[in-house]
């Protein structure tokens, strides 16, 4: 190993440990949406000046460990840990009523680990296959983005309404960018991303202040959560082994769906998790086996889609051409002034240019191993205690307070009060579209790229 690799490796190890610990904890908190949480924190790591190896390791370790520990609230409390945990909810609840929540948890997280082991190498292989076409894809990017935006919008909950809402949303961004250009002779990126990612929170805060909105948000008394009983696995708690927790069939199905979903990097992770679960479920006759296998496969898919959708566009193209890359992973592609993506010239200066494929492979493996070593044994042995502690001690007010402060600080950092105004504007409109029309953050991120890539290309015609 060459000497100049030692420092990046140490960065990768350090940042992966940090992300592993942090996101194993965050995953325990139900409803911590990936885009809203991972994107701002990844952005932060980039802006502070962590070198590329640390950034990629931080990001991968974050999503891998979060998608292990998000199974804890999903299986023990019956509330989804985050957006990708939603497809597992039904199986989790049925296994919980059967009195075996610990089996649901064990299967889900073991499926996740197996899936990581398959998705990391396969994503790199698929990226290499795609690399020769990168220039062609880059040249066609403005048109690919608008096609992708329409497709992602149409497959969102809002269907045609979300497609139509792209027009006002894109115009809003174009207008804001023009005004910012006039005032500051620069463009903002971060404040737009933050607005999109935290839109539902910003919308809810406005709504809570309005007397009309407050009426709809009222809650009669405290919300009740029913924690599943702490079932001790027979034979005590040994040091867990993900492969032994799965049957041969489960191992095969999880590996198969991880391999397939590593290639389908342009589709939404939630949609793929639902689809893979359905396909596998339809092939298993025994009901009990179907329940446990579907939850295994679905959680596995949340890992493989996230890894592939980050690594493939990052290694092969350098443009955020996947729902993931345009969502939680957005800062890895574009986080000025550190990483930039020049819309007009079609040039990039982001992780794609700063790391070689070999380095991507090395740091991804480091991140995956560390994230699994932190999250898997912790969840296996402490799930019940941790879930109880989070529910009893971590108040939602504290989480919102932290995020509100984070939004203010990052905006002031990017462009003072104007940037804060941009985030609030985009957040309020985006949150409204999200809540009322069903146009989720992924569609809005695509809308952002349509505004900065496609609109100039159309005007140049």
């Amino acid at each position: 190993m060459s000497a100049e690799l030692i420092e990046p490796i140490l960065w990768a190890i350090g940042m992966a440990i940090l992300a592993g610990v942090l996101f194993t904890g965050i995953g325990l908190i139900s409803g911590t949406d990936e885009t809203a949480i991972v994107a701002p924190l990844a952005l932060l790591v980039i802006l502070i000046g962590v070198p590329p190896s640390g950034v990629i390791a931080f990001f991968l370790a974050a999503i891998i460990s979060k998608h292990i520990s998000h199974a804890v609230p999903t299986t023990l409390l019956g509330i989804p840990g985050d957006t990708t945990a939603v497809p597992m909810l039904r199986e989790a609840q049925l296994l919980r009523s059967l009195g075996v929540p610990h089996i649901a948890l064990q299967k889900a997280i073991s499926g996740g680990v197996v899936s990581v082991a398959i998705a990391v190498p396969l994503s790199i292989v698929f990226a290499l296959v795609l690399t020769p076409f990168a220039d062609a894809i880059g040249a066609a990017a403005p048109w690919i983005f608008i096609a992708a935006a329409v497709l992602v919008a149409y497959t969102s909950k809002g269907k045609l309404a979300a497609v139509a809402a792209l027009i006002p949303f894109v115009l809003l961004i174009v207008g804001l960018q023009a005004f910012i250009m006039e005032q500051k002779e620069a463009t903002f990126t971060t404040s737009f991303f933050l607005g999109i990612a935290t839109g539902p929170l910003i919308f809810d805060l406005f709504s809570a202040v309005s007397p009309i909105g407050r009426r709809a948000m009222r809650q009669e008394g405290k919300r009740e959560f029913n924690l599943a009983p702490d079932v001790q696995p027979s034979g005590g708690r040994r040091l867990p082994n993900p492969i032994r927790a799965l049957s041969g069939k489960q191992l095969a199905y999880t590996s198969g769906s991880a391999a397939i979903t590593s290639a389908t990097f342009v589709f939404s992770p939630v949609a793929m998790a639902v689809l893979m679960g359905e396909v596998v479920g339809s092939r298993i006759k025994n009901g009990y086996e179907r329940l446990t296998t579907v939850i295994t496969v679905r959680n596995g898919t949340t890992e493989s889609t996230y890894i592939a959708e980050t690594l493939i566009p990052l290694i092969a193209i350098g443009l955020p051409l996947s729902p993931m890359a345009a969502g939680p992973a957005a800062p890895l592609f574009n986080a000025p002034p550190v990483y930039t993506l020049d819309a007009e010239a079609g040039t990039t200066n982001n992780l794609h240019d700063l790391l070689t494929t070999g380095q991507f492979a090395l740091f991804s493996v480091i991140a995956a191993v560390i994230a699994i070593l932190i999250a898997y044994p912790f969840v296996m042995t402490n799930a019940h205690r941790a879930a109880t502690w989070v529910m009893r001690s971590v108040s939602h007010e504290a989480i919102i307070a932290g995020f509100a402060a984070l939004i203010c600080v990052i905006c002031l950092y990017e462009g003072g009060l104007l940037a804060l105004g941009v985030t609030i504007t985009v957040g309020l409109v985006g949150g409204l579209f999200n809540r009322m029309i069903g146009m989720h953050a992924g569609v809005q991120f695509m809308g952002y790229y349509v505004a900065v890539l496609t609109v100039p290309a159309i005007l140049a015609l």
């Binding site: 139900s30 409803g31 502070i48 000046g49 049925l94 009523s97 059967l98 009195g99 075996v100 089996i103 929170l201 809810d204 805060l205 809570a208 407050r214 948000m217 009222r218 809650q219 009669e220 008394g221 405290k222 919300r223 009740e224 959560f225 029913n226 924690l227 599943a228 009983p229 702490d230 696995p233 027979s234 034979g235 049957s247 041969g248 069939k249 006759k285 025994n286 009901g287 009990y288 179907r290 329940l291 109880t388 009893r392 001690s393 971590v394 108040s395 939602h396 007010e397 504290a398 989480i399 919102i400 307070a401 932290g402 509100a404 402060a405 984070l406 203010c408 600080v409 002031l412 950092y413």
Partner: protein, 139 residues
């Protein structure tokens, strides 16, 4: 009892929420601005800008922790003991929603062991047989 609201998918007390945001923003923003001024006055503006951001983030964390200590969660946690109903009733309910859970005897030995270790083997066999008899009776 204070009026509770659902904000960002969980329950909060609006007064506590306003207090929490005031604490978070009130600590983090001044921390960032003062740090930024301080580093700028010492030259090296670009790097100082990043250090100021880092200090702002530490402010966010401190603000969130203080909020967490001051305001407790608005959740009621009940730990259900094991369901006291008859096991067959519970399985029936699941079957109603999901379809037959099947005969565990047709599983591979390893999977059978898993079901046995969970104490579900006999219950599932019983339920499956009762169901196939019912079906047989109907035909």
């Amino acid at each position: 009892m204070p009026q509770l609201l659902e904000v960002w998918n969980d329950t909060v007390d609006p007064k506590h929420l306003i207090g929490g945001i005031a604490i978070g923003v009130g600590i983090a923003v001044p921390a960032y601005l003062i740090a930024d001024q301080f580093f700028a006055s010492r030259g090296d503006e670009a790097l100082g800008h990043s250090y100021a951001l880092l200090i702002g983030i530490v402010g966010c964390i401190i603000g969130a922790v203080i909020t967490g200590v001051l305001f407790k969660p608005k959740r009621v946690i009940t730990t259900s003991g094991s369901d006291t109903r008859n096991r067959q009733e519970i399985i029936d309910e699941i079957v109603e929603e999901y379809g037959d859970l099947g005969d565990p005897r047709e599983l591979r030995p390893a999977a059978q062991d898993e079901v046995r270790a969970l104490g579900l083997f006999d219950a599932l066999v019983e339920n499956h047989e009762a169901r196939s008899q019912e079906k047989g009776g109907q035909q």
